[in-house]
C-alpha cells in the first residue's frame, strides 16, 4: 500500500515495508461498510462519541459507517450533518457518512432540507428517520420523489405505529406468556409492502432497514422480482438470536425491531445468502449502563454490534455453509457502499484501488468480553458467548487503525 492505495498484490514481491504482517490463515476482506450505526454525538456523548464509535468500527473491521440521524439535536440540517462528518474526519479511524433525517425533528410531518444536506460538505445521500417510521404515506411518497434529484435513497424503519403502540417484544407465543405488549410481524410487513409499491410508483429507490421477519423477506423478494429498485439489510443479531431469550426479562435483549422466532432467523439467513437481503448492517445502538440496568419496560432499546458483527456473520453464515468469504465481502462491503453511493469504499482489493482492508482470523476462538470493547457502552447480548473469529488488522486508506487485534494510536 502506497499513498492510500494498493500498490502491488501478489507473491514474492520485492518491496520494503513499514509494516510486516504474517497473514497466514487470515482472510483479507475489503474494509467493511456499515449502513446503520448510531454514534450518539451530538447529544448522548455518555453513550458514544464519534471518536469511540469509529474506534469500535475499526476494531470490527469497518472503514466506513453511516451515522444515523436520531441525535440531539437531530441531524436534520446541513449544520449538524457537517459537524458529524467533520468529527469523523478528525477521528482518523473510520469514515463517517452522516445519514440525514427525512423529516424535521424525526416528527414525520415536514420534510427536512434534504437538498441542503446533500449539498453540504457531508454530501448526504441516505436519509432516514430511523428509530421512527415515516408512517404518513404522503410524506413517504414525497421524500422518495424528492431525493431522485440527487440520487438519494430513503432508508425506512418499517414499523406501523398504531399496531405497535406499547410494544415490548415480538408478538407471539412468548409475549403472550410473558404478558409483554407484542410487536406483530405484520406491523413491519405492511409498511414494507406499502413502501415498495410507493417506490415503484414514483420510480425511486427505497432501502429497508433491519428486516426481521420471514414475511418481510417475502415482500422484498417479490419487489425485486418485479425489477424494482429495492434494497434491504439485516442485523447480525437478527441472524442469531430469538425471542425465547426474552424469557430472562434481561433488557440486553430489548431491541427494535424485536428479536423474532427461529423460523424468522432461518428465513433471514437464507435471504442474505441468496441476495434478497443485500447487506448486513449492525444497528449499533450504544446505551449507558443505567439505561439497561433496570426493569424491561423502561429499558432503552438496542444493542452494540460493530465489534462483533463479523464474528456473528461467520458463525451464522460462513460456518453454516450459507455464504463464502466472497459473499461476506459482497454483503458487508461492496453492496452497502453501493447503496450509500460511497465511491471510496467497497471496492475490490486490487492495484490502484483505495487501500481499505481488514484481515480477519476465522480460526480464533474466544469468549466475548465487553470490557475490552472500544465502544463506550457495554450493552451486548453476546457477553460470555463463544463467537468465532477476530479482526487482526484494519487499514483505512493504507493506514493501520487496528494491528494484532489492538487499536492503533492515531
Amino acid at each position: 500500500m502506497v499513498d492510500g492505495a494498493f500498490a502491488a498484490i501478489g507473491e514474492g514481491l520485492d518491496v520494503r515495508a513499514d509494516i510486516d504482517i504474517d497473514a497466514h490463515g487470515l482472510i483479507a476482506l475489503p474494509g467493511l461498510v456499515d449502513l446503520h450505526t448510531h454514534l450518539r454525538e451530538p447529544g448522548r456523548e455518555d453513550a458514544e462519541t464519534v471518536l469511540t464509535g469509529t474506534q469500535a468500527a475499526a476494531m470490527g473491521g469497518y472503514t466506513a459507517v453511516h451515522a444515523m440521524a436520531n441525535t440531539f439535536p437531530v441531524a436534520d440540517s446541513a449544520g449538524v450533518v457537517e459537524q458529524v462528518w467533520r468529527l469523523g474526519r478528525e477521528s482518523g479511524y473510520c469514515d463517517v457518512q452522516p445519514v440525514g433525517a427525512v423529516t424535521v425533528g424525526l416528527e414525520g410531518k415536514q420534510l427536512a432540507e434534504l437538498g441542503a444536506m446533500h449539498d453540504s460538505a457531508a454530501g448526504v445521500r441516505v436519509f432516514s428517520d430511523d428509530g421512527k417510521c415515516v408512517d404518513d404515506a404522503v410524506i413517504m411518497r414525497r421524500a422518495l420523489e424528492y431525493v431522485k434529484a440527487f440520487d438519494g435513497v430513503i432508508a425506512q424503519h418499517a414499523q406501523e405505529p398504531r399496531l405497535t403502540a406499547g410494544a415490548q417484544m415480538n408478538e407471539g407465543t412468548v409475549s403472550g406468556e410473558l404478558g409483554l405488549g407484542g410487536w406483530p410481524a405484520v406491523a413491519e410487513e405492511s409498511i414494507i409492502a406499502r413502501d415498495v409499491l410507493l417506490a415503484a410508483h414514483v420510480g425511486s429507490r427505497v432501502h429497508i432497514c433491519h428486516l426481521s421477519t420471514a414475511g418481510s423477506v417475502e415482500i422484498v423478494r417479490w419487489a425485486k422480482g418485479k425489477g424494482w429498485d429495492v434494497t434491504a439489510e439485516v442485523t447480525p443479531h437478527h441472524l442469531l438470536l430469538t425471542d425465547e431469550l426474552v424469557r430472562s426479562y434481561d433488557p440486553v435483549y430489548k431491541v427494535n425491531p424485536p428479536l423474532r422466532t427461529a423460523a424468522d432467523v432461518e428465513a433471514l439467513r437464507e435471504a442474505l445468502a441468496d441476495g434478497t437481503i443485500d447487506a448486513v448492517a449492525t444497528d449499533h445502538a450504544p446505551h449507558p449502563a443505567e439505561d439497561k440496568d433496570c426493569e424491561w419496560a423502561v429499558a432503552a432499546m438496542g444493542m452494540v454490534g460493530l465489534e462483533t458483527a463479523l464474528s456473528v456473520v461467520q458463525q451464522t453464515m460462513v460456518d453454516t455453509g450459507l455464504l463464502n468469504w466472497e459473499g461476506v465481502a459482497d454483503r458487508m462491503s461492496h453492496r452497502p457502499a453501493r447503496i450509500g453511493r460511497l465511491t471510496g469504499h467497497g471496492r475490490p482489493i486490487s492495484v490502484g484501488e483505495p487501500a481499505n482492508l481488514v484481515l480477519f482470523d476465522p480460526a480464533y476462538r474466544g469468549v466475548v468480553n465487553p470490557d475490552t470493547f472500544a465502544t463506550r457502552s457495554r450493552n451486548t447480548p453476546y457477553k460470555g458467548m463463544d463467537l468465532p473469529g477476530r479482526v487482526h488488522a484494519t487499514f483505512l486508506r493504507g493506514e493501520a487503525t487496528v494491528l494484532a487485534g489492538e487499536l492503533v494510536e492515531r
Binding site: 403472550g176 404478558g179 426493569e295 424491561w296
Partner: protein
C-alpha cells in the same frame, strides 16, 4: 424450589400442595382470639407497591403481621420513584435496610423477575402482581378456595376438575398464573373470551379456548369471572358494553346453567354490571368474600415457607409449625 415466588410456572405439584396444606393449617389460627404467631419475629418484610392495590397490600400486611414480621410499607406513589428513581436504586435501598423479603407489585411485566434475577437484593422476592404477567398468590388463593369446595383435605389436588376463566384473558395476570397452577394441580382450564381478548399463541397454552360461554357452563365445576375494564371498549377490543354483557357476562340465567355444586369466583374488585350481575355477585355460590379470607392464609404460608428459613422443597410435609405451639 426457588428462593423467590415470581411465577406459578416455577411451582411443582409438591410445592403447590405444600403451600396449600400449610395455608390450611395456618387458617386455623385466624379463628383464635390471639392471631399472632412468632414465626417471622425479627424478620423484615417490605411491601413495595409501585401500583395501587389496597386489597392485595392489606392482605399481605395482615399475613406479615400475623407472623410477627417487621413490616415496612414502601409505596412508590409520591416517593422518589415517581421522580424517576429506578427499581435498582430502590432495591439497593431496601437491601441496605436489611429486607429479608420484598413483596412487589409493579405495573410492568417482568419487574419482579428482574429483581429476583439481579444481584441488587439478597432477600426473597414475592410477586404481588406484575403488569399483565402474573399474580401467583392470587392463583394460590384461588386454588385453595377451589380445593375447599371441590376436593377438601390435605394432600389433595384438583385432578379432573373443570374451571372456566372468563373475560379479559389478554391483560390478566390472574389468568396467566391460574393456568399454570391449576393445570399443575390436575385441573382442566377453559378460557372463555372474545378472540380480541385472548393472547396470540394461546393455542400452545395448557388449556382449552372457547368463544362461547353458554356451551362451557354446563360442564364447569367453577367459573372465574375476570374484571373487564370499560377502557377496552374504546380500544376496540369489543363493540359495546351491552354486547359484551350479552355474550360474556354472568347473570342469573347463566348461573342456572351451571351444575349444582359449581362455584362462581372473582379476583375482585367486582364492578357489578358488565361482567357479573348483582344477583350473581350476591348469590351464596359466589366465593368472593371467602377468597379474600383465604388470601391471608395463603400469603402467610408463602411467607412462612420462603422467609421462615425452610425452603418449600425441604420443609417437612406435615407441617408442625413448632414455634406456633409455644
Amino acid at each position: 424450589m426457588k428462593r423467590h415466588l415470581v411465577s406459578t410456572a416455577d411451582l411443582g405439584r409438591d410445592d403447590a400442595l405444600l403451600i396449600l396444606d400449610t395455608a390450611e393449617e395456618l387458617s386455623q389460627f385466624s379463628g383464635r382470639a390471639v392471631k399472632k404467631l412468632p414465626t417471622l419475629r425479627g424478620r423484615t418484610v417490605v411491601n413495595l407497591f409501585f401500583e395501587d392495590s389496597t386489597r392485595t397490600k392489606t392482605s399481605f400486611e395482615v399475613a406479615e403481621k400475623r407472623l410477627s414480621a417487621d413490616v415496612i410499607n414502601f409505596s412508590a406513589k409520591g416517593s422518589s420513584v415517581s421522580k424517576g428513581e429506578s427499581l435498582k436504586d430502590t432495591a439497593l435501598t431496601l437491601q441496605a435496610m436489611g429486607a429479608d423479603a420484598v413483596v412487589i407489585r409493579h405495573h410492568a411485566s417482568g419487574a419482579p423477575a428482574r429483581l429476583a434475577g439481579s444481584d441488587w437484593l439478597h432477600g426473597s422476592v414475592i410477586n404481588a402482581g406484575d403488569g399483565t404477567h402474573e399474580h401467583p398468590t392470587q392463583a394460590l388463593l384461588d386454588a385453595f378456595t377451589l380445593r375447599r369446595h371441590l376436593n377438601p383435605g390435605a394432600g389433595r389436588d384438583l385432578a379432573g376438575r373443570k374451571v372456566a376463566i372468563v373475560g379479559d384473558i389478554l391483560h390478566s395476570r390472574v389468568a396467566r398464573s391460574n393456568v399454570h397452577l391449576l393445570t399443575t394441580l390436575g385441573a382442566e382450564v377453559t378460557f372463555v373470551a372474545p378472540p380480541t381478548l385472548l393472547p396470540i399463541g394461546i393455542d400452545t397454552w395448557p388449556c382449552e379456548v372457547s368463544y362461547d360461554l353458554d356451551s362451557v357452563l354446563p360442564k364447569a365445576d367453577a367459573v372465574m369471572m375476570l374484571r373487564v375494564q370499560r377502557e377496552r371498549m374504546n380500544a376496540a377490543f369489543f363493540p359495546t358494553e351491552r354486547e359484551y354483557s350479552r355474550r360474556y357476562g354472568l347473570d342469573g340465567a347463566r348461573l342456572a346453567r351451571l351444575p349444582e355444586h359449581a362455584i362462581v369466583m372473582h379476583p375482585g374488585p367486582m364492578v357489578r354490571g358488565m361482567e357479573i350481575t348483582a344477583e350473581v355477585a350476591d348469590s351464596p355460590r359466589c366465593t368472593v368474600v371467602e377468597q379474600v379470607a383465604n388470601g391471608v392464609s395463603v400469603r402467610m404460608a408463602v411467607l412462612y415457607l420462603l422467609v421462615g428459613g425452610a425452603t418449600l422443597a425441604d420443609a417437612p410435609r406435615t407441617t408442625e409449625l413448632p414455634e406456633a405451639a409455644q
